[in-house]
Amino acid sequence: MSAVISFPRLETAASARRQAWTERLRLALRTPSLLVGAAVVLFWILCAIFAAKIAPYDPLQPDILHKLLPPSAAHRFGTDGLGRDVLSRVIFGSRGILVAAPLATLLGTVGGTAIGLVAGYFRGLVEEVLMRITDAFLALPTIVTALLVLAAVGGSTTTVILVIGLGFAPIIARTVRAAVLSEAQLEYVEAAKLRQERAPYVMFVEILPNVMGPVLVEFTVRLGYAVFAIATLSFLGFGIPPPAPDWGLTIAEQYTYLIANLWWPVLFPALAIASVVIAVNLFADGLSQVLER
């Protein structure tokens, strides 16, 4: 009898796994876009969590006799049209979007992944029906879908989250379905069938972990777009209602001041939106680079 074959380069598989993780982490640390993106997002998360500690003023407290003051030592970012502190509003404004955008994206991702899994796995009539509905939703831009629904049920943070989630689900479903289709052709799926696994097991235990890569990338990409979309909805007046210090809303409320050269109430929230969206996109970009390798 020849000796049992062992793997000469590794002590144990556990250390192999650890090594794989450290390898991936090292790769992540060497991806600048991922790092910059993560840093900026982290910055805003900290702002959101510690807003009450960081912000110098109450973001909702008007002081209309001191409205539209330019940036100064007392008000680093100036005051807005109601005399509220722009800096404090920008800091507090991170809260809404940092809760709404991930929740909406998560909702869309979970829903879309489920639809995509089912459609990609079952094929046939189930797939046809699901994909036609998905296609129908895809034929509408997210903003239009959102307007349609928000007109029906009225704007609130919850509805915005739901509607963005609804808008994202078909997009994610498409991605997931494509990934599932190629996964389902692989023989490990047949191997599962050959031991009479039930469909949910095959979908969620066998296939799902293997499509998590694209799902994760799609999640981060969508997250960036969620920030974009929620801000746009707020701007159009269909999102989070005033007086919330929401960035998009603030811009909508204050952008006419620009004409009078009162740029600070608008510029800072605009920069905040831009920084979050860009950061999330950079993160997504970096993540896909890391996962690709």
Partner: protein, 317 residues
């Protein structure tokens, strides 16, 4: 080929039908009463009931749907509740205007972004690539309303190089009209640039790394010939599909842009319809958006299949 096209058209029609059902149901979830919405909050309840009846909104949903979709098929989109004119009249004009604006945006962005994507791919990993990809990403990430404001401030109010108004005298020559549409199209250009450039870059890189490119290089072809003859043709095929799917995205952007610039396109029309809960206009408007999107993707499918011999020649031989 024909089979492929027929299948695509059939799929698009089915999708459209599903869309019509979704839109119909969604618009009937709108709160409040149609007659009340038309007559306003201060109107007499009896008048409201009479109006509801004359509009047929008190009939069963299925009947209403069939009436609506039947009218739609025959080109009768109903009357706008807020404007009291046929919806088709509003939509046609809005669509025409939007197409003008979108066309200007496309004419600017498509060559620019494709060129950008190509350059980035050819300079992969270098500074220029980083500038184009990160710059494009940033531009894509900025909501249109943010970029619009900056552009208005810089280009119209400070530098005064572009007119802020999109209102052109109706008898103005096409060049003047285009000139007026440049500013509002720029935010769309910015959003689309990063996206199309990215896809182009990805397609280019895939083509550059392909075996046939290797064949071409090892044949001893000059690099220019390799790129132009062998790489571009294959690399740009996915871009075509992407450009088409961006029409949907574009319409979303148009809602914002047209509202900001008060441009009477389909985006603003949708926004107004939704704000005023003008449901015939919402239904028909959203349907139109769907039709435009599906039409555009169909067109992309067709051009893609014409360019791709694999599909063009399928079924032969």
């Amino acid at each position: 080929m024909l089979r492929f096209l027929l299948r695509r058209v059939a799929l698009a029609l089915v999708t459209l039908w599903v869309l019509s059902v979704i839109i119909f149901l969604a618009s009937h979830a709108l709160p409040g009463d149609v007659g009340r919405r038309i007559l306003g909050p201060f109107a007499d309840p009896r008048a409201v009931a009479t109006l509801d009846h004359s509009l047929g909104v008190d009939r069963p949903l299925l009947v209403q749907y069939l009436t609506w979709i039947g009218g739609f098929v025959h080109g009768d989109l109903g009357m706008s509740l807020s404007f009291h004119v046929p919806v088709s009249q509003l939509l046609l004009r809005g669509l025409g205007n939007s197409v003008k604006l979108a066309a200007v945006a496309f004419v600017i962005v498509v060559p620019l972004s494709i060129f950008g994507g190509i350059v980035a791919a050819l300079r992969r990993g270098r500074l220029l690539d980083r500038i184009i990809t990160v710059g494009g990403l940033s531009a894509t990430a900025m909501p249109e309303f943010v970029t619009s404001i900056v552009l208005i401030l810089v280009l119209s109010i400070s530098l005064k190089v572009l007119p802020i108004s999109v209102q052109v005298p109706p008898d103005a020559d096409p060049l003047t009209q285009i000139y007026h549409l440049i500013l509002p199209s720029l935010p769309l250009v910015l959003v689309l640039f990063g996206y199309i450039a990215r896809i182009t870059r990805a397609g280019m890189i895939e083509a550059l790394e392909s075996d046939y490119t290797r064949t071409a290089v090892l044949k001893g072809l000059p690099w220019r010939t390799v790129v132009i003859r062998h790489v571009l043709r294959n690399a740009l095929m996915p871009t075509i599909a992407v450009v088409a799917t961006q029409t949907g995205y574009l319409i979303g952007g148009l809602v914002v842009i047209e509202t900001m610039f008060n441009y009477q396109g389909i985006g603003q029309l949708l926004f107004t319809a939704v704000s005023q809960k003008d449901f015939p206009l919402i239904q028909a408007g959203v349907m139109t958006v769907g039709i435009v999107y599906l039409g555009a993707t169909l067109l992309a499918d067709i051009s893609y299949s014409l360019l791709n011999p694999r599909i063009r020649l399928a079924g032969r031989e």
